[in-house]
């Protein structure tokens, strides 16, 4: 295991930008996910680390030594591809043994290591099978074993589960995570699936148009996105347009475009660019009798979700969602009624 440092990685393609100043640090043995929509530069970044793309500029360090000048075969990084990229003319055993044979290990050592990996991915029984006869999940386990058998300090994975169905994917997520932990390898994982990213990662870098939009732990990103793109990508949040933030000592208020009175909010994060939005999760929105909150709204629709009621409210043609617990005691507002909307100051975050 090794720590990985990426600094200001840039790659331009004719007409588009693949990666635009990507930087991150991964401590030894940690699991980082690059998460973002298709075309956001995840593969470009990963392939530059693997050495298949020449960066226009930037630094890639593994344990403080710059590997940017090395050819891919000299980088000693494990890579798992979405389409598995197994060698179809070789058996399971031969596929996994390939990197060891290239490294000219003794046959007994090769046998030992391949057997261990086969055991870890539970494919001992398949070792002499042609890889073309395996199921998708089995193929992916062979690809993992092959990428890990030569004990690379870093494992790179580009949407490795993209071709599998949902159920198998969840099972494989756990399996990859276990392998990564037990072999203690630093991992960089690429996906566009946020659930996958949230459940597997130590930290997540959300990418957009070749840049890292925000990076942090899954909780931090989900609970405290600092820009609109991240908030919308992770989903399930109300975004109120704001025109200004006023600070008076420890109290902060935002001026909403849809309401006259300023509403309380958190302070903006130091160093963030001019906030344009206020993000409030539906679970934090409180509704009450008219004129009792920050502003009034009309109930457009309500959906019972078992334990909570999901409201769709309209304020000056702006729709917002509120999720209210149903305690069974107090009556809940009906469709068409007027309600007041409010939230605790610490639940409203200014976003860029």
């Amino acid at each position: 295991m090794s720590k990985v440092t990426v600094r200001d990685l840039c790659k331009r393609f004719p007409g588009t930008v693949g990666a635009d100043g990507v930087s991150f640090d991964i401590p030894s043995g940690q699991f980082l996910t690059l998460l973002g929509p298709s075309g956001s530069g995840k593969t470009t970044t990963l392939m530059m680390i693997a050495g298949f793309l020449q960066p226009d500029s930037g630094v890639i360090e593994v344990d403080d030594s710059n590997i940017a000048a090395l050819t891919p075969n000299k980088r000693n990084l494990g890579v798992v591809f979405q389409s598995y990229a197994l060698f179809p003319h070789k058996t399971v055993w031969e596929n996994i043994a390939f990197p060891l044979k290239i490294r000219k290990l003794a046959p007994s050592e090769i046998d030992k290591r391949v057997s261990r990996l086969l055991e870890l991915v539970r494919l001992e029984a398949f070792k002499d099978r042609s890889v073309t006869t395996l199921s998708g999940g089995q193929k992916q386990r062979v690809a993992l074993a092959r990428a890990l058998v030569f004990e690379p300090p870093v494992l790179l994975m580009d949407e490795p589960l993209g071709a599998l169905d949902r159920k198998l994917r969840e099972q494989m997520q756990a399996e990859i995570k276990n392998l990564q932990r037990s072999l203690n390898v630093t991992a960089i994982y690429v996906t566009h699936d946020q659930d996958e990213a949230l459940s597997m990662s130590d930290s997540i870098a959300i990418m957009n148009e070749g840049k890292i939009s925000q990076m942090g732990s899954p909780e931090a990103l989900f609970e405290r996105p600092n820009n609109r793109f991240v908030a919308e990508f992770l989903g399930g949040i109300n975004l109120f347009p704001i025109t200004a933030i006023h600070s008076e000592g420890a109290s902060h208020t935002g001026k909403l475009a849809i309401a006259d009175a300023p509403v309380p909010c958190c302070p903006p994060i130091a160093g963030m660019s001019e906030p344009k939005w206020l993000g409030v999760r539906p679970e934090r929105v409180r509704i009450g009798s008219p004129a009792g909150g920050h502003f009034d709204a009309t109930v457009m629709k309500r959906t019972y979700l078992g334990g909570t009621m999901l409201y769709e409210l309209n304020v000056a043609d702006f729709l917002l969602a509120a999720r209210v617990p149903t305690d069974g005691a107090s009556p809940l507002p009906e469709v068409g009624s007027r309600v007041s909307v409010s939230w605790p100051a610490q639940s409203a975050w200014p976003l860029a």
């Binding site: 990229a85 179809p88 990197p99 490294r103």
Partner: protein, 287 residues
Amino acid sequence: MPDRRQLRLKILLLPSLALMVLFFVVPLSTLMGTSFADFQAGEIGKAFSLANYLALAQDPFYRQIIIRTVLIATVTTALCVVLGYPIAAGIVRAYGLWRPVLLILVLMPLLIGGVIRCYGWMLILDEHGLVNNLLLALGIIDSPASLLFGFWSVVITMVEVLLPFFVLSMLGTLSNIDPLLERASLSLGASKFQTFFQIIFPLALPGVIAGASIVFSLALTIFVVPRIIGGPSYLMLSTLAYQQTSEVGNVPFGAAVAVLMLVLTLIVLLAVNRFERGSDLNKAKAS
């Protein structure tokens, strides 16, 4: 009802089957029959005779032509593999508009045909051709000399004429190889060289063999190139067959040469067929 439909479909096959039997099977059989006729004093005899085949097998002149034909076909095939592989690999790697453009660049000479390209090579190789003019201008030679009518001029022309066949028959196999395999192999520590010989080439081999066999069988029998570039004295089997039939008038001997060409072609194609089945069997066994 389904039987009636099947019957009607069978009837649709009849015209082409009839055409093929009448104008392909029958004439070829007649040609084979003729090859066993004897030929004396300018007359085609009726007697069954192996004389034509014996002459082909025993006469040193004809033996030399057979050996020359096989040798030229072999060298041509080897060169087509060496030159055609990078072209095919380039087309498979090309993206966007490049791909159809390159494909058409390969297809175009094929569609223009052998006669015109041989003419082009005449203009390149003969006494006043491009090569001589270049060598003169560079002061490498003092007086021009025709480069036509020899082994290398025939081989060069033949490679150029047959190269598109090799490229086209390789493309399918090559484009079925996942380009990520190369990256996977490199990421596992193999050099480009190791990747090519241990991963890519074994997977491309069926295509190489298919392409090589097509080129080899065409090279054994092609007529334009030896006729125009080889000339009347540097004979190959095809030009020998033509000369005997049209110029000497010894139709039975010409027929025997034609049958020999046919047999050689079939041997090549059947051998490759056997190989392909063999490799399919191996695959089935491995799984």
